[in-house]
Structures are given as structure tokens and as C-alpha cells.
């Protein structure tokens, strides 16, 4: 039991992965400029923006999340789509 817990805690995925980040709001020029090579898409009929793209590791992810925070977007969810 204990071992399992550690196994879960331990492995932070530090390899490249495709992430989906969902934000609240509508797409702006700043957002597009700041997200470099992520795909940016407004979800149909909603105020949710979906960013999908490959990130080399979680330092890159953290950088992106911080940037999104700096330009005042609410982050709804972060998901690894494919590792």
C-alpha cells in the first residue's frame, strides 16, 4: 500500500507530452502571441478556450501556465493527452 502511494507521488512526468489546457475567456492577440506553437481554439458556443500542444517537460508547462496567469486568463484545467 505504502509503496504504491510513493510510486504515484514520485513520478512527475518530466518527459515531453501533449497537453490540453482549458481557459476561460475569448481568444485575444496577446494570447496567440504568448502561446507560441500551441494550437488555440475557442470551444463552440462557450467561453472556453482550448490550447493543445506539445511541451518538452513540466518546466515548459509551468512557464506557459505562468504566462497565461500573467495575461489574466483563468485556467480551468490542465490535462496530459498523450505522453
Amino acid at each position: 500500500m505504502r509503496e504504491e502511494m510513493f510510486a504515484q507521488e514520485k513520478t512527475i512526468p518530466n518527459n515531453a507530452a501533449i497537453y490540453q489546457i482549458r481557459l476561460k475567456g475569448t481568444i485575444t492577440t496577446t494570447l496567440i502571441q504568448m502561446t507560441d506553437d500551441m494550437q488555440v481554439r475557442q470551444e463552440t458556443d462557450s467561453d472556453i478556450i482550448s490550447l493543445i500542444g506539445w511541451l518538452p517537460d513540466q518546466s515548459a508547462l509551468m512557464g506557459l501556465l505562468n504566462t497565461l496567469h500573467d495575461i489574466h486568463f483563468t485556467i480551468k484545467s490542465v490535462q496530459i493527452i498523450k505522453q
Binding site: N14, D57, S59, L61, N66, D70
Partner: protein, 877 residues
């Protein structure tokens, strides 16, 4: 500026070399960017430092901190570090931090990139802790540099997380090396080697495996676990290394158990400083431990135990803890001794203040949340920074203080008003004045009340003119507090004289300035400000002869002095006065000199100097020079954030075209907002765009517009008269005359022209006449019948349509007297001296004397040259 920020962290010899990574870096040393991105404690900075130590390329290391997220502070350090890593002279970009407030950010980026492009040797700049930068402008700058593809320059960014830069292109074209966490992790072999280097670490293989498994190659965690090693076992928790990598606080307490409690506490105390040296440590120890001289031992032990100490200064004089380690130490201290923290921060602040490192002193006062202290430090050092012209440094200091504190601190609000005077943020000005009143400035110290009244006086003089009230404020201010600094007392005298003039009390203003002068040394700031004031009074009263004489005097004193700002002002005022008296060579010469003072003073005035220079050339008939200067002015204006600077350039262009007879082209521009006339914009500017618009309308607008222009001119005249501003009087009178001619009211036009010419002759304000003659020569046909005016026009070199001029007798000047003209006429008919003497009934000696005078006045050596010159001057047709 703390130069330790510009040092590469030194590496101690117990660090493991990582040849495969260093090779990788070396193989990529030609790429424009190396990005090292991983969380804290993965040995990023150490790796780069090890790499740099092995290679000879010129580089500079810039250790960023949170404060450098401010554009101006970043620019200061960035420029300094670029200068260190190349052999290019950066003198011209040293004041970009000040320029920042005026120039568009794109312009600043261009300036920097152009400079980097001139590097003739390979250079490398390392920006450490780039994640601390959260300022879009800075990212934009770095992006622009990367896009530029500069051959001779490499950036190395060390960061805990990826910055928002455009990596896609760089990745696509393989112009980027990324070193990330998975590569920075220490592998089994490396850990093995590390353990071998430290034979004191006694680990069983199982423990090593456990260590590796838990720490996942995180070197910081591994080293902390090694340092804490015996602890968990002491407590009988064998095998429980597992929790430690994510609970650094407990880990650090275990590390503490391995050292004496005194030593561990000393470490925690030092962790409050971002950087420390021996002297600072001693000071901290004597403050909080009541002991002195312990710094040496402490530092030795710290270095011996290799407790995440990073040397940052030259010759190992300054150190810091690894950020992560330092943060945990600090956190432990805050939990254990919360009451100690703020007093200690204040102590550190005083230590830095004592060393003259004011930025740091303010930073620690703010950390201590002692904003009073921070405010006092700012107030204390404001005057010296202002005298150096570095007001933007003070602006940065103030911006670090939370807004709600700033808005309730009278001292700081008063300082902020100076920034408004420098940047002309009109809205901000009245907001600050209101805020000051609401926070009770009127019940504060005499000095503060006096400063408030001074700023209010400034506001009521230039921004929302009400000279009567302004004078009242200024006089009260002076009565409350005596000051002899250039920025307060000196400026106050200047503005006071100005308001008196605005109230029509020029004579009194000048008299009081004379009395004021007696109290101050010749050439002192106060004396110069008073000369400055006198010229303002003359210029605004329209006494251009006097203003020219006084400006000469001011310039003579200022050019010997050290204050650049005074030199710049003296040249501008001299140029302006000479422009008005149509001494155009002198005007262009002085104003050209002003150009080199672009960073020193008032940009509105700077642009006016540029305008004056273009117009002087244009009026002299030097179209080529005028066009080239106009282009320069336009290019300069494009660099500015505020569009009003482009308007200044646009207006001058229109006026030059008007001189060339191309005014019609400018009609479209002139028709925009031309009815919107504001008094404050006029003062004593050589070019006022609003007035230039009227010039164009009067000459090229429809008849309806011309009639409207007459009304606008009367309005302008009225509001200028209200404040006794006579700088533009003749100009306006001439424009009225032109307008009246265009709508066929010749008699009224003639009256206006008569008035203008009379005034022009009285005040020596010749330039408007010359300009009007350029624009509408036929206007002067109206006064053709008046010998006096024809003489005036002739004297200033303007041809009237009738060639025969009444002879003029004016012995004192360089003009030929009646007798001399007769002598020339007779010589022209071929008579000799004796014959001339007979003809005029004078002696030969007298004829010779006349000739001597004529030669001197015409600057010729003999008769033949004299006759040639006379012919060319077409005096006798």
C-alpha cells in the same frame, strides 16, 4: 548599481564536472540561444559556469532578481552587461533608462539591436534566473534580439520555467539548444563519483539506491540528504529517507542537527540577505547576537561544509545561498523567531544605506514593511539624484512602494509631482495635487507645505494658467521655507518671475531678480536660474533685444559651468532670441548645439529648438539644409511614445512648405482641429502647431475659413494679452493683415501691417516680417508709400516692389550715409577725388575719409571692388 549582479557564480572544486553536457554546450556555442530550463536545484547555473570557465569566449553574467523585472532597472543592468562582454562603446546608450520614459519601446529595442550588430567579436550574455522576469517588454526585447539572427552574439537563458519567448521558429531551424531537467538529472555513475569525492559519506549500496530512487537525480535533494544523513537514523527511523525530498523544511532541520545550534542560527540570519559579505555578516551578528568578529570563522565553516554557498563577488568577497536552500533557511527562521525578522531587515537596510547602496537599502526597508523608512530614504536621496538629472531612478524607487502607501505619504506625493514636471503628465499632476490636499498637506511641515505651494504654483503657471493665484502660492511658498537648491528654490524664483510677467509686472519681476542676485554667488545655480528667469520675462514681454543680450550673458556663464542642463537652456534661449531678432546665423548655430543635449532637458523645448533650427535655415533660403534637418526632426519624433512629438515635426514641415509656396499641400493637415486653441501651448515657442495651422488657413483656406481664422486670431490674441504674452504679437498682427488682404479689407490690413511694422522695429522682432514676406510678398505693397517702412524693409534686406529708395542717413550703423552714397555715385560716374571734392564743396582729405568709411562698411579693399559690390547690391539701379 550592485556590480555583484554581474559576476558569474564561482565554482568550488568539490563539484562534479559533467563532460557530456559541457560538450553539448560547446557543440552548440554558435547558436543564438541556449535555454537551460529546470526547477531549482538541478545545477543549471553551476553547469553553465563550469562550461564558461573552460572556454575563452567573452561573456557577461547577469544574475537577475525580481526588481529587474522593471524595464528601466533591467535596461540599466542589461546595457552594463552588454558593455562588459564586448569591446564596443556604449556611451550613447547609457541613459536608455531615462529615455525609456519618452521613447517608444520599439525604438529602444532598435537602438540595442543596432548596437549588438556592431559587435566585431563573439560575445555571450548569460541571463540567470530569467523566470523572475515577468515583464512583457523585456520578453519582447529578448524575442527581437533572437529574431535578428545576430552572428556574433549568443544568449544563454537559465530559468526555472520556460519564458514566453517564441521558440517555435528557433526549434524549427535548429537555432536553439535546450537543456532540460531530464538531462540535468544526476545518474547513478555521477552519484557514485560524488560519493567518492566525499569519503566521509558512509552509505551502504541499499541506501545509495534508495537515495537515487527518491531524489530522482535532483542534485540539490541528494546533497541535502547527504548533509542530513545521520539524522533520520538517530531518531531510529531507518529507511525512512522517503519523505525528505518533498519536505525540505524537515530536511533542513536535520541538516541543522549536524552542526552547532549557534552556527545554524547564524546561517539562518544570513539567509535574510540576498547577498552577504564579511562586513555585512559581522554587522548582522553584532546586531542580533551581540557578538562581533565572528564572520571569519562562520564563513570558513560555511565554505568548508559547502553549504550551498555561491560566491558572487570578485575574489570571493560576496556570497549568497543557493536560492532554494536560502529560502528554506529563511522560512525556518520566520517560524522560529518571527519577531526578529523585521528589525533585522531594517538593520540590513541601514547597513546598505551606510555604504551608499540606496537601491538595496530601500529594498530591505520594504521587505521589513517599514515604508516610512523606505520613504525617508527616498526623500533623503532625491535631491542628489535630481541634481544629477537621474529623476527616473527616484521614480523607480517610489514605484516599489505599494500604491496605498504612496498615495497617503506626503513626502512621496511631493516627489511624484516633480516627475509630472519632467514628463508633462497633466492629468497625473492635478490628481496628485488633489490627493495631497486630501491627505492634509496643509497641516504638515513647513517645508512640505512650501513644496506643495511651489508645485501648485507651477501648475497654475503652465498647466492651468491663473497667474494671480500662482503668484500667491509661490510667494507663500517662499515665505514658508527658504531653499537654495536648483530644483526647488532656483526653479521657484524662475516661475515666480514668470508669473509676475504674466500679470504685467515685468519691471517689478526684473527688479526683484536683481535684488535676489545680490544674495548669491556669481555663477551659482541660484544665480543662473535668476538669469534664466530674466530671459523668460523678456521673451514673454516681447523684448527680444534684451533677451538676446541676457541670453549671451547666461550662455557665457553656463558654458563654463558643470551643469549640462543650464548649458542646454542657455543655448536654447540664445537661439530663440536670435531667431526672433532675425539673427538667423546665430540662431541656427546655437540651436544646432542644443541637439547634442537631447537627453538633458525638457523634450518640448528640445523639439522647439529643432523647429527653430529648421525654420532658421528655411528663412535664410537654405532649403537643402532646412529639408535635411526637417527630416531628422521627423525621424526623432517617430521614436517617441507620445504622438504630440510627431505633431511638432509635422507642423514645421508645413511651415517650411508654406515658405516654399507649397502651403496648399498642407491645407488638409491644417484643417484638423485648428479651431481648438489653448493658451498654455503658446508660451515662447518658436513653433506652435496650432498657430501654424492658422498660418496655412489664412493663406490657403477658403474665404469663409479666412474669416473664421480672423475670429480665432482675435481669441488667441485675447488670451495671450490676458497673460501679457507678447512673444507672438507681431506674428498674429501680420496674420491678421494677411487674412484681411485675402478678404479684401485692404484698409484694415494696412492698419494691422502698420502696427506690426512699428512694433517690429521697436522690439527688433524682425523675423515675423521676413517670414511674412516669404509667404505673401505682395502684402508689403500696402505700405509702399511710407518712406519709414520702406527704409525698415530695405534695412532688413527685403526688396519692395519699387526700386528707388529714399536716401537714408544713419551714421552710427554700417549703412552708408547720405554723403557717402553721394561720393559713391560720383565715383561711379568716373570722377577722381579732387573732382569729387570740388563737386561736393569739401576738401580732398574729407573725400578720402569718406572713402575709408565706405571701404570699411562695404568690406572692400579698393575703388574697383567697391563699385563691383555696389553694383551687385543693386543699390543704384
Amino acid at each position: 548599481m550592485l556590480h555583484t549582479k554581474l559576476n558569474r557564480p564561482k565554482i568550488s572544486d568539490d563539484l562534479l564536472l559533467r563532460p557530456h553536457l559541457i560538450r553539448k554546450l560547446e557543440d552548440s556555442s554558435h547558436l543564438p540561444l541556449i535555454l537551460v530550463s529546470a526547477p531549482a536545484g538541478y545545477g543549471k547555473s553551476i553547469l553553465i559556469s563550469q562550461w564558461l570557465e573552460k572556454h575563452e569566449t567573452k561573456y557577461c553574467w547577469l544574475a537577475l532578481n525580481q526588481a529587474m523585472s522593471d524595464s528601466t532597472l533591467f535596461l540599466t543592468y542589461f546595457i552594463e552587461s552588454l558593455e562588459r562582454c564586448c569591446a564596443v562603446n556604449w556611451a550613447d546608450l547609457k541613459d536608455l533608462a531615462q529615455q525609456y520614459h519618452f521613447l517608444a519601446w520599439e525604438t529602444i529595442i532598435d537602438l540595442i539591436i543596432n548596437k549588438i550588430n556592431t559587435f566585431n567579436e563573439y560575445a555571450r550574455l548569460i541571463l540567470d534566473d530569467y523566470h523572475l522576469i515577468r515583464n512583457q517588454e523585456i520578453h519582447q526585447l529578448i524575442n527581437a534580439i533572437l529574431k535578428e539572427n545576430i552572428n556574433n552574439f549568443q544568449l544563454v537563458l537559465i530559468t526555472r520555467r520556460d519564458p514566453p519567448l517564441q521558440f517555435r521558429q528557433l526549434r524549427l531551424y535548429q537555432k536553439l539548444l535546450e537543456i532540460r531537467m531530464h538531462e540535468l538529472r544526476f545518474n547513478n555513475n555521477e552519484i557514485g563519483e560524488l560519493l567518492k569525492m566525499k569519503p566521509t559519506f558512509n552509505f551502504s549500496q541499499d541506501e545509495v539506491n534508495e537515495l537515487l530512487f527518491r531524489a530522482e537525480g535532483w542534485i540539490m535533494g541528494i546533497r541535502m540528504m547527504l548533509l542530513a544523513k545521520p539524522a533520520p537514523y538517530k531518531e531510529g527511523r531507518k529507511g525512512s529517507l522517503d519523505y525528505v525530498t518533498n519536505d525540505l523544511d524537515i530536511l533542513i532541520d536535520h541538516i541543522g542537527d549536524n552542526f552547532s545550534p549557534e552556527f545554524f542560527r547564524q546561517m539562518q540570519l544570513c539567509s535574510l540577505c540576498e547577498q552577504f559579505n564579511k562586513e555585512l555578516i559581522d554587522s548582522i551578528f553584532s546586531f542580533s547576537l551581540n557578538e562581533s568578529g565572528g564572520a571569519n570563522n562562520f564563513l570558513e565553516q560555511l565554505i568548508d561544509s559547502n553549504l550551498f554557498l555561491i560566491p558572487t563577488g570578485d575574489e570571493c568577497s560576496w556570497f549568497r545561498f543557493h536560492h532554494l536552500f536560502g529560502d528554506v533557511l529563511k522560512r525556518r527562521l520566520k517560524i522560529k523567531e518571527p519577531k526578529l525578522i523585521n528589525p533585522l531587515y531594517i538593520h540590513i537596510s541601514s547597513w546598505f544605506a551606510g555604504k551608499g547602496l540606496i537601491d538595496e537599502a530601500i529594498h530591505y526597508a520594504i521587505l521589513a514593511e517599514n515604508y516610512n523608512r523606505a520613504g525617508n530614504l527616498i526623500v533623503e536621496h532625491t535631491t542628489s539624484k535630481f541634481e544629477l538629472g537621474e529623476w527616473w531612478v527616484v521614480k523607480r524607487w517610489i514605484e516599489n512602494i505599494p500604491e496605498e502607501i504612496r498615495m497617503s505619504n506626503i513626502d512621496l506625493l511631493l516627489i511624484e509631482l516633480y516627475f509630472c514636471q519632467e514628463t508633462y503628465e497633466v492629468k497625473e499632476f492635478s490628481f496628485l495635487l488633489d490627493t495631497l490636499e486630501s491627505v492634509g498637506v496643509k497641516n504638515s511641515s513647513k517645508k512640505n507645505q512650501s513644496l506643495y505651494l511651489y508645485h501648485l504654483g507651477y501648475y497654475l503657471t503652465y498647466i492651468s494658467p491663473n497667474p494671480e493665484k500662482a503668484l500667491e502660492c509661490l510667494e507663500q511658498s517662499k515665505a514658508l521655507y527658504h531653499d537654495e537648491t536648483g530644483m526647488f528654490g532656483g526653479r521657484r524664483e524662475l516661475i515666480t518671475a514668470n508669473t509676475r510677467q504674466m500679470l504685467g509686472r515685468s519691471t517689478l519681476a526684473l527688479k526683484l531678480l536683481n535684488e535676489h542676485d545680490k544674495n548669491f554667488q556669481y555663477g551659482s545655480v541660484m544665480h543662473m536660474r535668476s538669469l534664466h528667469a530674466r530671459i523668460y520675462v523678456h521673451l514673454q514681454s516681447g523684448n527680444f533685444k534684451e533677451s538676446e543680450v541676457e541670453s549671451e550673458k547666461f550662455h557665457f556663464i553656463a558654458k563654463k559651468g558643470e551643469l549640462k542642463i543650464m548649458r542646454a537652456w542657455s543655448l536654447y534661449l540664445l537661439g530663440n532670441s536670435a531667431f526672433q531678432t532675425a539673427n538667423l546665423d546665430k540662431a541656427s548655430q546655437s540651436l544646432r548645439e542644443v541637439i547634442s543635449y537631447d537627453k538633458v532637458f525638457n523634450y518640448r523645448v528640445y523639439f522647439d529648438a529643432l523647429a527653430g533650427l529648421v525654420l532658421s535655415h528655411s528663412l535664410k533660403g537654405d532649403a537643402k539644409e532646412a529639408d535635411s534637418m526637417q527630416l531628422t526632426m521627423e525621424q526623432i519624433s517617430e521614436k517617441f511614445k507620445n504622438p504630440k512629438f510627431q505633431t511638432y515635426a509635422r507642423s514645421v514641415k508645413a511651415r517650411v512648405n508654406l515658405h516654399k509656396g507649397l502651403g496648399k499641400m498642407e491645407l488638409e493637415w491644417a484643417q484638423m482641429n485648428w479651431l481648438n486653441q489653448v493658451q498654455g501651448l503658446y508660451v515662447f515657442m518658436m513653433d506652435v502647431p496650432e498657430l501654424t495651422k492658422i498660418r496655412i488657413i489664412v493663406n490657403h483656406g477658403s474665404i469663409l475659413q479666412v474669416e473664421e481664422a480672423l475670429c480665432v486670431l482675435s481669441e488667441v490674441e485675447a488670451f495671450l494679452n490676458e497673460v501679457h504674452n507678447n512673444y507672438h504679437t507681431i506674428e498674429i498682427e501680420l496674420l491678421k493683415a494677411m487674412a484681411l488682404v485675402r478678404i479684401g479689407r485692404k484698409e484694415d490690413a494696412k492698419a494691422s501691417l502698420n502696427k506690426a511694422l512699428t512694433l517690429a522695429e521697436q522690439n527688433d522682432n524682425i523675423r515675423p516680417i521676413i517670414e511674412a514676406h516669404h509667404i505673401m510678398p505682395s502684402l508689403f505693397d500696402l505700405v509702399n508709400q511710407s518712406p519709414n517702412f520702406r527704409r525698415l524693409l530695405y534695412r532688413i534686406g527685403l526688396n519692395t516692389s519699387n526700386s528707388e529708395l529714399p536716401p537714408v542717413s544713419n551714421a552710427a550703423s554700417d549703412e552708408l550715409s547720405l554723403r557717402e552714397q553721394q561720393v559713391i555715385q560720383l565715383i561711379a560716374t568716373g570722377l577722381r577725388n579732387k573732382e569729387i571734392a570740388d563737386e561736393l564743396n569739401i576738401s580732398v582729405v574729407t573725400v578720402k575719409s569718406h572713402l575709408t568709411h565706405i571701404y570699411r562698411k562695404l568690406d572692400v579693399p579698393n575703388r574697383t571692388s567697391m563699385l563691383n559690390k555696389v553694383k551687385s547690391m543693386a543699390i543704384f539701379s
